[in-house]
């Protein structure tokens, strides 16, 4: 059992939990994820690691309540435990000194971006962070990310905070201002990653995206999380979750992420969440 040590409500349907999982914390690196199962009848869901503390043996995950499991997870309190918690899974982000790096986070995608920003900064990069959300109350970790960023840009769809518009608009401006960008990280909704990747492709700027397909085992066994990357089938759980943003078939990913929408609704209805 893996006890919850801390719980925070970041916005209406976004929550943070810190979980005691010393073995996972010992190995966790930016870009990796965990798979959890709340209880005996639960499903296995992947969540990207938002932070880790090797000394205290904890892992922090931030999740949006979108389906039955995340909604149920959102009801757990400090002191409650999760039945299964496995990881760290997937390949870590390739952190090195690139020069100038633009880190883009959209919505709940800001959470997994945080450790990447931190490690890129600690590796001597000039880090420009762009955070976007639908509105102010859906933004998160501004302070934390600002601490490790040389520049921080904020935007919201409705203009309640920062520039009104999309993260891609800010990126476009940076490019227009002849900012030399060596690499871009983009994590957020699939459509956001697609738009960012399409933009950077025009300027030939290497772009990494972190994908979040549906998974079951998370160890490369089932192929549920397969994505088409450069015409090849890859498993996000073992080959990813980060891939070359210019090669991902986003439309197929969006489609596959909708596979069980009807069942999800049924499950939520039954659970009354």
């Amino acid at each position: 059992m893996y006890p919850i040590l801390r719980r925070e409500i970041l916005s209406e349907n976004v929550k943070l939990i810190k979980i005691k999982a010393p073995l996972v914390a010992k190995k966790a690196k930016a870009g990796q994820f965990i798979i959890l199962r709340i209880d005996e009848k639960g499903e296995r869901i992947p969540l990207t690691i938002a932070d880790y503390d090797r000394k205290k043996g904890t892992i922090t995950v931030i999740f949006m309540e979108v389906g039955k499991t995340t909604k149920q997870l959102g009801t757990l309190k400090v002191g409650d435990s999760i039945l299964n918690f496995a990881g760290p899974l997937g390949q870590p982000s390739e952190i090195e000194k690139y020069g100038t790096v633009v880190c883009i986070g959209g919505g709940v995608g800001i959470a997994p971006l945080y450790p990447i920003v931190k490690e890129l900064k600690q590796s001597g990069n000039y880090v420009i962070s762009i955070l976007g959300a639908r509105s102010e109350k859906l933004l998160m970790l501004e302070k934390e990310i600002d601490e490790f960023s040389d520049e921080l840009h904020i935007c919201t769809d409705d203009g309640t905070k920062g520039t009104k518009g999309f993260v891609s608009d800010i990126l476009q401006k940076l490019i227009d201002n002849k900012k030399k960008i060596d690499i871009v990280w983009a994590i957020g909704p699939v459509i956001m990653m697609k738009v960012v990747a399409n933009l950077t492709k025009k300027y030939d700027i290497k772009t990494l995206v972190s994908l979040n397909p549906i998974m079951v085992d998370g160890t490369g066994m089932c192929g549920c999380c397969r994505v088409s990357v450069g015409g090849e089938t890859k498993f996000a759980c073992v080959d990813g979750p980060e891939f070359d943003g210019h090669k991902v078939d986003y439309d197929n990913l969006m489609l596959r992420n909708r596979r069980f929408i009807c069942q999800e609704e049924e499950s939520c209805k039954l659970a009354g969440v």
Binding site: E43, R44, N84, A86, G87, G220, R226, D251
Partner: protein, 461 residues
Amino acid sequence: MAVRKTKHDMPEQKPKDRIKNFNEVPYGYDEKTAIEEAKRCLQCKNRPCISGCPVEIDIPEFIKHIAEGDFDKAVEVLKTKTNLPAVCGRVCPYENQCEGECTLLKIGEPVAIGRLERFLADYERKKGVKIPKKAKSTGKKIAVVGSGPAGLTCAGDLAKMGHRITVFEALHDPGGVLMYGIPEFRLPKEIVKAEVNYIQKLGVEINYDVVVGKTITVDELMEDYDAVFIGTGAGLPRWLKLPGENLEGVYSANEFLTRVNMMRAYQFPEYDTPVKIGKVVATFGAGNVAMDCARTALRLGAVKSYIIYRRSEKEMPARDEEIEHAKEEGVIFKLLTNPVKFFGDDKGLLKEVECIEMKLGEPDESGRRRPAPIEGSNFKIKIDTALVAIGQSPNPLVPKTVKGLKIGKWGNIETDEDGRTNIPGLFAGGDIATGAATVILAMGAGKRAARAIDEYIKSKE
């Protein structure tokens, strides 16, 4: 008295009933039938059946005790060699092993060794399993990676020898393929759990949620333990590599079976994991896993369940018993047929598969006649779900993360007959070493490796 030429029948659920539930298909022998069947055994002096058993069970001896009605004694004989009799008694391909060597084949059917093994295991489980005496503790620690048939057998045997065993399992349940792969109606999960429970009572500790290669590495285990055994199986699904294979509605056999078996999607929404199959399901491949898929689809409510296979009936790799069960249940076999392309609707939902008819040519390296497409014979079948069951490769997660480990050309770990890898103290067995095979061969490998590990540890003293 003349010997009866045929096996005693094992009663089973009628096909029309059983396709509506996930309960086990056969009911097993009752005591009287078991004794009658046991009496068919000729107790041959040369005991050919034993040579056919990968875990070397003293078959005539346990059968003799059944014939005498001494089931407890029979169990004792059985359990000296196998830790998983209830599993073997259900999923072993006996016809190619013990029963394939039976002298009675000269006049008719062999002794139903598999059914008798199953009878004994079920008898013992109902009665309460006895824990055998263990050897004196050696104080040696061994790590076993993976709790499938190879790992469990190796762990159980080593525990009996007095070693301290820790098993590391990536998933949340023990059993590996016994749990995620083989369906409930062929191998009830309660039975797997009972057998695992027995192994734990031998002193084996199982740690779940530990993905070796990620959570902890084999190199780290090698520092903390006197020896390490890797039995991580053939978990990597093979694909047809056809256009449209990533459409919604195409599952690997592994995903489909894991959802249904381990995650219990057949009890959705009581259990959270869903599966959806629509009305018409096509399974590609004709091995045991393919039969499991096609039969599971029927139980989930498929109106039509096809097996699509590029060779003919004779070449189908599944056991006769599985093929027979699938046919009885109404699975439709489209043989000498190969898929070419999957088509989806405008939402990307699978709706059709294009196939081509095949003919058989000269035998290939496997000895089976090589199938070749018949030009212009293409046709389409409307399907809602495609299940790809054309085999698995060794899971690369562990082999890739061990420094200096010798890997074979299929990504398998190279070992000798007894599971020794090129690294002293590191052993491997089962599908991770041989590529996808059977439960009993993995158990045999686990057993041989346990002996080799014991030998290795003693040699270091």
